[in-house]
C-alpha cells in the first residue's frame, strides 16, 4: 500500500524520486551533475524512479536481460503498479551483450505490456535521458496536440472545391449566401443557379444527391 501511495505522489519540478538502492550509483551522480535534485525513497516497490510529469521508470540492466526471465516478472509487476494516467517507461540497457535479446524484449515490453521502451547504452546515457525528461517538463512541448477553437472558413472553402465544377470564386459565393455546408446541401436548383450558373448548379446537386452505394 505504501508503494502505491508513493507512486501517486509525483516529485516537484526539477526533482526525481529515486529508489533507495540507487543512492550510490553512477546514474544518480550524473543526474545530480545535470542539475536535477534527487530524493530517495525506500517504499517505491518495483519502481526505480519517479519523474515530475507523472512518469515512472523501471531500469532493466544488461544483467537482467542476459540472465533471463526474472525481469519479465518485474516488468509485469511494474505495469500493474502504475495506475492509469501514469506513463510507465522501461529503460533497457542495449549493449553488445544484450543486443541479441533486444527484439524479443521490445516485443514483450511494447506489444504485450503496452509500456514505452527506451534503449540506453548504460547508466550515463540513462541519466542524460532522465535529466532531459525532468528538465523538459518545464518547457512547452511542440509535439503535444493543442486543441484550439477552430475557424472552419478556410477548410470549408477548400472542401467545396472538391465538388466538380466548383473553384475558389464559386465556393466563396456559395458560403456567402448559405453560410453552412448543410444549408448548401438542402438548396434547390433555382437557388443555386443564380450563384454559380446552370451547369455548376447541376453538378453540385448530382454530386451531393446521386447514390454512391
Amino acid at each position: 500500500m505504501a508503494a502505491a501511495a508513493a507512486v501517486t505522489a509525483a516529485p516537484p519540478y526539477g526533482h526525481v524520486i529515486g529508489h533507495e538502492k540507487w543512492r550510490d550509483s553512477a546514474l544518480i551522480q550524473h543526474i545530480k551533475g545535470a542539475g536535477v535534485k534527487v530524493v530517495f525513497e525506500k517504499e517505491l516497490g518495483v519502481v526505480d524512479f519517479l519523474l515530475p510529469n507523472r512518469s515512472s521508470v523501471l531500469y532493466v540492466s544488461e544483467c537482467d536481460i542476459i540472465a533471463g526471465n526474472s525481469y519479465k516478472r518485474k516488468l509485469v509487476r511494474f505495469r500493474n503498479a502504475n495506475g492509469s494516467g501514469v506513463q510507465a517507461l522501461a529503460l533497457a540497457e542495449r549493449t553488445r551483450l544484450s543486443e541479441q535479446y533486444f527484439s524479443s524484449l521490445q516485443k514483450f515490453v511494447v506489444f504485450d505490456l503496452g509500456l514505452t521502451l527506451l534503449p540506453v547504452s548504460g547508466q550515463p546515457e540513462a541519466s542524460q535521458l532522465i535529466s532531459q525528461m525532468v528538465l523538459s517538463e518545464g518547457r512547452d512541448n511542440p509535439f503535444r496536440k493543442r486543441s484550439v477553437a477552430r475557424l472552419y472558413e478556410p477548410q470549408l472553402l477548400l472542401l467545396l472545391q472538391q465538388i466538380p465544377g466548383v473553384g475558389g470564386v464559386k465556393a466563396s459565393a456559395l458560403l456567402h449566401s448559405f453560410s453552412s455546408l448543410q444549408e448548401i446541401c438542402s438548396a434547390r436548383l433555382p437557388q443555386l443557379e443564380p450563384l454559380v450558373g446552370q451547369a455548376s448548379a447541376q453538378h453540385i446537386l448530382s454530386f451531393l444527391h446521386n447514390h454512391l452505394v
Binding site: 506489444f111 472558413e153 478556410p154 458560403l175
Partner: protein, 232 residues
C-alpha cells in the same frame, strides 16, 4: 496463424521503402495497398499510423520544424501514432559511425513520449517490416484491422473520397468507410454525430468535429480574408 492483414502505404514510400514493402508482402504476407496519403507513412489500422525515422533525423535540430509538423498532422488523423526509429544505414565497406546521443536527441525523445507518440526501435528496413506486420496483427486482434474495400471505382466515388478527405480530422481509412457506408454525400451531410461515428468508423470526438464543420456557420468577413490570403 491469423488472416492476412492490410497495411496502407503512401505512394512516396515506393521509392523510400521499396525493400521494406516487398519484405512485408513476401515474408509477412501482408496485403500492402499503395494509395495517396498526406505524407510518407503507413496506416496499420482504423486508428493507427506509423512513420519511419532514422536516429539522425530525430537528432537533427534542422529537422525540428518538419518533425513537429509531421507529429501534429498524424495526431490530427490517428488515435495512435508510432515512430519507428531506425539505426542509420551505413554503406557497404563504410565503418559504422557510432551514433552520438546528444542532449537534444534525448529531449526530443522525452517530448515525443510525453506527447503520446509510441516509439519502436529498429535495426533497419527488415526489422521495421517485422515491426509493422506485428503492429498490424496486434491491431487486428483488437478488432481494429482495416476491413473496408480498398478499391474506389467510378468517378463519382473518387470525387466523394476526395471530398471526405478534405474534412477536418478525416483520414484515408475514415474516408473509405464513408464512401461505402453513406448512400450519398447528402445523406452524410444530414447525419447525426452517432451516424457519422458509425459510418466513418471513427472516434466520438472526431465525429463531433466533422459534425461541427458541416453545420458551421461561416462569417462573411472571415470568408473574405481567407479568400484574400489565398490570392496573395
Amino acid at each position: 496463424t491469423s488472416t492476412t492483414v492490410c497495411i496502407l502505404v503512401d505512394s512516396r514510400c515506393i521509392s523510400s521503402s521499396a525493400d521494406l514493402m516487398s519484405d512485408l508482402r513476401q515474408h509477412h504476407s501482408v496485403n500492402v495497398h499503395v494509395c495517396s496519403l498526406d505524407g510518407s507513412y503507413f496506416v496499420l489500422s482504423n486508428r493507427t499510423a506509423a512513420e519511419r525515422h532514422s536516429q539522425s533525423e530525430l537528432a537533427s535540430m534542422q529537422n525540428r520544424k518538419r518533425l513537429v509538423e509531421r507529429v501534429n498532422s498524424l495526431q490530427g488523423l490517428f488515435e495512435r501514432v508510432c515512430f519507428i526509429v531506425e539505426k542509420d544505414r551505413t554503406k557497404p565497406g563504410e565503418v559504422g559511425r557510432l551514433f552520438q546521443r546528444t542532449r537534444y536527441f534525448d529531449s526530443t525523445l522525452a517530448s515525443l513520449v510525453h506527447a503520446g507518440v509510441r516509439l519502436l526501435w529498429s535495426d533497419g528496413a527488415q526489422d521495421s517490416a517485422r515491426l509493422l506486420a506485428d503492429l498490424a496483427q496486434l491491431e487486428q486482434r483488437k478488432g481494429q484491422a482495416i476491413a473496408v474495400p480498398l478499391e474506389v471505382r467510378g468517378q463519382h466515388r473518387q470525387q466523394a473520397l476526395q471530398f471526405y478527405l478534405a474534412l477536418p480530422g478525416v483520414g484515408y481509412v475514415h474516408a473509405l468507410h464513408m464512401c461505402h457506408n453513406f448512400i450519398s454525400v447528402a445523406q452524410f451531410i444530414n447525419s447525426t454525430i452517432e451516424a457519422i461515428q458509425k459510418g466513418g468508423v471513427m472516434s466520438r470526438s472526431r465525429a463531433e468535429e466533422v459534425y461541427r464543420c458541416i453545420r458551421y456557420s461561416c462569417d462573411s468577413f472571415l470568408l473574405n480574408t481567407s479568400t484574400a490570403k489565398k490570392k496573395s
